[in-house]
Symmetry: D2
Subunit: 351 residues, 4 copies
């Protein structure tokens, strides 16, 4: 079978490295272009900080890309239908637009286009049908390519377990407090002097993202979901893994045991890079814990660890439900989810 | 002027050490008995881990206690009216009862008697009038002494800034997520293998305390306050300082700027160990931070740093108010608050 | 082929867990007895802290032992020739003696018998011939079993790269300063309050071990090697991995490039759990680093990561040679090395 | 008495902030110029990161500088005899030269001029007489001002306790391995992703500094001291405080107890910012420890904490002596030492 050619934008950064790793020995995707600033250099020369910006990386750069030359976005061939973007915010916007105009489908982890009305914002297990927006997007803009976004890491990690609750009981109010990893700020990112023995209770722009993105994902393609959400996003001293404290007021009374069952039965996509069980529910009183559960996830890909979200401490509280949700911010909340969106696009016939 | 004689129970532990430090050169209290298991040893011999279980300690044991001999609770003289208890939970209960029977007034940091109906649970700036319960307690039991409690650290740190909101606007619902320091678990307490690069989203018994204690403190001596409170208590990798994310639904609409003003104007007690401003409100978008703000507090005592609570990110959210509150768990949330209760008892004529 | 039955002493501790993991799907060893205090419990019930005391563990307890019942040392069958001991010091001594008397060959990670004259202290790549001491031991004691020891973690990590230097140029003086991981102290081990933002420049008994054990290993079975060694053993805030600063005065002038070549060519054992290259030499100016290099090692076993020692900054200094050596203290310096000794015993026909 | 006017170069950086703090309420120095890039801004506006790059800072910027305007080096008045330089390396060199030409005496913490033959490199307790080089410098260059340097932090922390050993017994060889704090790399400096759960065994240029600077300090103004020194400089995860493992081969046999006595009796300078006892020797087997001993130091200034070096584990080893030395890198090894040099210059009549 012929593989689908793909390109990676921002291939040397933390997200780019994760794309490179997750696409290593991929059964249906074949990396044919690596895009970053160091045009003309070999990937191994340009990526001197391989594995430094997040954990769980193979010890060395995969052979399949080591000697590939970095190119510019303009160099991506017409016959590369799919482009994964790990570009930084603001940089991403115009480059992604340009590639969509040229006929590529861009799957982006950047925030720039996420909230545009005709851009699907997709967690493959939660709202795969939002890909229909591609049709609308192509009519409106008009172009042959497309821009499809994966949500912000923090949003993804609580919206996934919120989905079965939302579907079965309805949601009125959500209160979120996050304890996020330093890898979320990229590399070098957070100074050791700023986070050692410290908590920083603010991450620029993050709280707005949790609010707007989760409603878009749980809503229809015509209208965001209608609930109230407030959040505090905090940085704590962990390398990887966002742990989130969630309180939910449901429309109808939700029994904790029933919710656990629904979460456990919540189906995976069956796609190569997706976990069999997207939501793992633990009954121990003190789980999930960041260091011990961030690599949860089983499935076909050797890189599936970190693609499941782990839920714990799920119980009925005075207002309704409360639970802890933990996910790996650079895998489930990062490149892993974008790769999964790419695989969904392939299955749905877009590429 | 003659000083009031005081005893310290559990003098060698983290709380006990803090009592020892805060009572160093105290203008009206004089430590005349040190109680711990190592009866007969000198304090300097028994306290080999001075300053290890929390930060901000003087480099060495204060001279005034260094050569004092440890005694047992039975050895406390009749003429010592005030006893500070830093005993561990469950151990504290019967010993404190016994001392109250003998006529001492015990100010305890242990949970054992906190929720008993006739035991005042006091934050001196918030509910000093609850000391009236002593009268009721003496009638009921009957004894000449008394048991008075200071609240759990976590409770103290959010209940203090909640007080002006409660008084002015009324409170319907509170959602609390905490990021607590390892020193809260005592010494040696939390293993480095359990908290390095990790968050533990559970602390035994802590969530119930936040719920029951805050309502008792904000209520009258006859009835707890009537609001709903849900909480998640988490341990993060900081040495000292509990940072808490708070969401409040008020009965009447509370404007954030008005709330800031009320908090800033919230009066101190004027007592020796209390801060001039119990609540410090910061306007920077990323404060308070644990390492930089945990020693906030100005006042008469050289040990007043850590007695103020710092509030930040105060704003109106969809449900009402939200803010971050930070306090030092072994000072404001620990021995410091108990010393302040002792000083309040002195001013009110109980000792 | 029939597998060799083996038992694990102290199977629930950090070392015991590592034995369990390294023997998972082992081609020639079959775990037939698990020994610990919780006699009668299933392994999964007794090992509630699986994976907590060190990193790199599979997410859950391997199936092959999960339902096996813990037994006592007395319950080990006669037909189990090989016993791996992860018992704590002082506890280990008499139990291991007893098992040797009963005819078992005990491979121990405990210090108790390491320095006895007739006990082989073996790093399989360095001094496999020391197994000859078994003969002498059996004559002297007399028994049919044997006690064979693997060295202390710290010793192992510098003695392995010292071996080719010792053989080729001779060694006169060695100065060692270590920066050791908290997992070396077991679980719960080091309090977070003792190591956060701290270095502890002392580990009880460790410096003497580095001195005596390395000379025994590099010497003949009749006489320890003759050089001077001084060391400072320090604890730093890393989870796993001992990084060691080494200065060596050689008898004959040793050229740094030649030493690098000798280290790189230093042969592995060819055994299942051993790395192809026991010593990895890196040329980058800032490697090895603890977090990035502690899992170095390639070979047949899926658990071989952590079995290589990584050397870096190798250069000629005023006195001779200096370099940094890094190894995983609970794998190369722990159960991994003991398993390797077990495999060597099998190849040499002892079991 | 009229105070000596001083200027601070690089006043907004970590060292600059420390100068500002140590000169707060200084009895004989008066800060009259603050130099940094943000010319025209008030100090409080320009220094938004006050206290972030190292610990032990007062909570807020001292009043005396808060509203002072930043100026450029060219704006320093002729009547300011003394200039403290906390400029970064390479930037410092030409600016300091220029100021010396204009007649100012510059006390610099930058490396740029340290090793020039006619520039005194001074630890006031160790080699105050090296100030004589100023005369030679003024003849050679020729100018009316002067450049005087304080050594690199790492050098200072081991050279101070080495001095009484050098004087009494002579030194042949020194082996140094350091465990240095992240604050040594400035702010933001070291990424949290580079040092969490890690040791980095390399700091650019540091090892050469330890070698050349210590010999210049312990030598005469005509010739460096003659001994061999080798070192490994490592970065560990502590905020402040360099802990150093030292092995010394002395010319004459040095008894450990005698060395302890000599170190304890080693005299302070009597200057305002200097500690009464520059070297504190501890007998406990596990001290000094970075977090607990880095603020050692007693004296006249309220900012003297961190000006003493703490020595421990001093003993005779096979080669001679070994010990651990710990000092605060941004105080004793930083601005504190430069201030002390300034006070020495004042006492000796240079300003």
């Amino acid at each position: 079978m012929k593989k689908v050619k793909v390109a990676i934008l921002g291939c040397c950064g933390v997200l780019g490295q994760r794309f490179v790793q997750m696409l290593n020995k991929h059964p249906t995707f074949e990396v044919s272009a690596l895009v970053d600033l160091y045009v003309g250099k070999k990937y191994r020369e340009a990526t001197t900080k391989w594995g430094k910006g997040s954990g769980g990386f193979d010890e060395s750069i995969p052979n399949y890309v080591a000697d590939m030359e970095i190119c510019s976005a303009d160099d991506i061939d017409r016959d590369v239908p799919l482009v994964f973007s790990g570009l930084p915010p603001n940089v991403a916007g115009p480059i992604e637009l340009d590639l969509a105009k040229k006929g590529h489908i861009v799957v982006s982890k950047a925030k720039d286009h996420r909230l545009e009305e005709d851009v699907p914002l997709v967690i493959p297990e939660v709202n795969p049908s939002h890909l229909e927006l591609i049709e609308r997007q192509r009519k409106k803009r008009p172009w042959d390519g497309a821009i499809v976004c994966a949500p912000n890491c923090t949003t993804s990690i609580f919206t996934l377990p919120l989905k079965p609750v939302f579907d079965e009981f309805g949601v009125e109010e959500v209160v979120v407090t996050t304890m996020q990893a330093v890898s979320g700020a990229g590399y070098p990112g957070i100074s050791s002097l700023d986070i050692t023995d410290n908590v920083v209770p603010y991450i620029e722009g993050e709280e707005e993202k949790t609010r707007l993105e989760s409603k878009k994902i749980l809503g229809s393609i015509d209208k965001p979901a209608d609930y109230k959400l407030a959040s505090h996003c905090c940085r704590v001293h962990v390398i990887d893994g966002h742990l989130e404290s969630i309180f939910v007021k449901t429309k109808q009374k939700a029994d904790a045991e029933e919710v656990k069952r629904l979460m456990r039965e919540f189906p995976g996509t069956g796609l190569y890079s997706g976990p069999k069980r997207p939501i793992i529910v633990r009954d121990e009183v003190d789980r999930p814990q960041t260091r011990f559960d961030r690599y949860a996830g089983e499935g076909k890909s050797p890189y599936v660890g970190g693609m499941s979200v782990t839920v714990g401490r799920l119980r009925n509280e005075v207002f309704g439900l409360s639970f802890i949700s933990l996910g790996h911010n650079t895998i489930r909340g990062g490149a892993g989810e974008a790769v999964l969106v790419g695989e969904l696009l392939e299955r749905e016939g877009y590429v």
